[in-house]
Symmetry: C2
Subunit: 384 residues, 2 copies
Amino acid sequence: MSRQLKIKISVPFSFNVIFARNVFSSRDFLKNFFISPGSIEKKKVIFFIEDTVAESFPDILEKIESFDSKTKGIELVHPVFVLPGGEQNKNIKEAVKICSILSKNKICRQSIVAVVGGGAFLDTVCFAASISHRGVCQVRFPTTVVSQCDSGLGVKNAVNLFGKKNFAGVFFPPSAVINDFAFLKTLAPRDINSGLAEAIKIAVIKDSSFFSYLEKNTENIRGDNSPILEKIIVRCAKLHADHISDSGDPFEFGNAKPLDFGHWLAHKLESMSKGKMRHGEAVAVGIATDSFYAMKKGLLSKGEFERIINILKSYSLPIWTPFLGKKSKGRLSILDGIAEFREHLGGKLSITLPSGIGSKIEINKIDCKIIEDAFIYFKTISSK
Amino acid sequence: MSRQLKIKISVPFSFNVIFARNVFSSRDFLKNFFISPGSIEKKKVIFFIEDTVAESFPDILEKIESFDSKTKGIELVHPVFVLPGGEQNKNIKEAVKICSILSKNKICRQSIVAVVGGGAFLDTVCFAASISHRGVCQVRFPTTVVSQCDSGLGVKNAVNLFGKKNFAGVFFPPSAVINDFAFLKTLAPRDINSGLAEAIKIAVIKDSSFFSYLEKNTENIRGDNSPILEKIIVRCAKLHADHISDSGDPFEFGNAKPLDFGHWLAHKLESMSKGKMRHGEAVAVGIATDSFYAMKKGLLSKGEFERIINILKSYSLPIWTPFLGKKSKGRLSILDGIAEFREHLGGKLSITLPSGIGSKIEINKIDCKIIEDAFIYFKTISSK
């Protein structure tokens, strides 16, 4: 009789990231996301929209609700739910509230939860959907630059808990991601730039020609040139999608987290600022700090380092903030971000640094003295 | 420029189910579960034990806590947590409390959450671990027949929410499952029999020779013959493990749920009884009812049906209960279990029925009249 059984499984997931414009104006286009070809059953669909998006696009509710009665194969089970988004609502209480809406509306695992909003809102609704009935299908409509570039197309979701960013979450790939460029029209310049921090991040560590493209187009973006912005989003999304598909570790069982360049500092800074800094702004400070570190370690030339700092500045992104100076028991609070980052990812510390523009290495320890030198350097040049 | 990106990933999982005895008496044996060969890092381990298990095995805490200081490579981060188990504590509040313990003890994704207890307790702690940092490694020590046979070695976990069984949960395979037979010694006969309902379930639909083995050994089990009980657990666990490995759908994206034979009724009955019926007892009533249905549909001969009823009775398992008669608005409440089962699994209804002993088919609708006839039939023979 066997005294040991081995269970070995491999679970396949696949989904499309679609780039489009004004999808809610076309009933047929929407149908494509919700109805499998040849399906004879009616799909239950439930829509959640972030309140700020509903305010900026006042006809969107009517557009969504109008396709219900006319489109076969889709049953909108309830008028669209308009809920608050942002980091301050990305918590377990809000997630359980959404679970309760799914329960009351008898949403099943093969129904569709459609979510329209920014990264924090997508995270909250998708986390709720991912734990309801052990995972309900999700179609995401990211509405911000950062979520269209990066967070909206990932395979994970989470809410903040116990003051720790993303403490409660799961890996659960969406069924589809629809990047509708029409949503970008009403974004404030600050939000556009904040989103571009993720594009700069991935260009620095993965794609030098994309980095050059970002350098060349600073003026165009500042002038709100949509075709350029859209090109950047598509390219950035492709780099992220390729990473997920090709890394060999999409559910991040190992230590290496290359897409988290600049993020040990960013996550802590975002918490410390209590929502005053955008995620992308915190990422920009993280990129600047870790690039300084890479330069000091001989991984970046001074010229490469300056190109990185200049591109952040040209997109009006911060490279330093007074929050970095906050101390607790004589120690810079931001430095706790290193241990928290390790703890969240698990195993030994793994920090991604650029080694030249367009490539990267992993390091497993950090010399805090150099980090503090970086803060002094950036504080000095920021005050000039 | 591409207008569509395809993300396609395949995520591998593997784990061992180990059969053993008195593992907590051997320090080296335990070490094997927690330390990867060649690992130079200390693994953080945190232990959760169900209170009833700690009461029945008063030296277990000391045994676990003693290996901390003496075993290199393991760091027990806190004395063992003793918490209440059972269906009544399988809820989101208890899960968040466990998340908070993991957070306070700086447990990371590559730490180990070790859980000792019955199915409901394993479910609650493992759900908490599965959503903390998007999934912390888990080592399960199931302590009951039902959890050693079935629930403890599965790839899913969940807690009850909004009065719905397992509403909040995820698919997250454990790192290892250790079925320690020493835990079975203190179980009451009622709990042993309840666990055997899952063995009968899987024998009926998958393995006629196992069914015959169960028939032959009713006396031995009733006499608490441990070697026979252990053989049954190993065989039942293997059938479940093979199903997970070979079904091609371990995360249950499709409709078919063959292991849920008898469970549409069992889940509802368990909720309706408010903990008065064990899971296995509710499953026994589900097996009896659905076997009656299969006989009426010509899938089972009268002789096969009677063998199933007799085996349930010979293990002192119920085939009927007054809870089945409870009505709401003139309709039997238990029948709502059909819709709830479909809703939980998603898509169209799929009910597994035996087609002869040792094989099964799926049906997609149920004639409630036959179910009601089954209740009348079993009520009559139960009162004789």
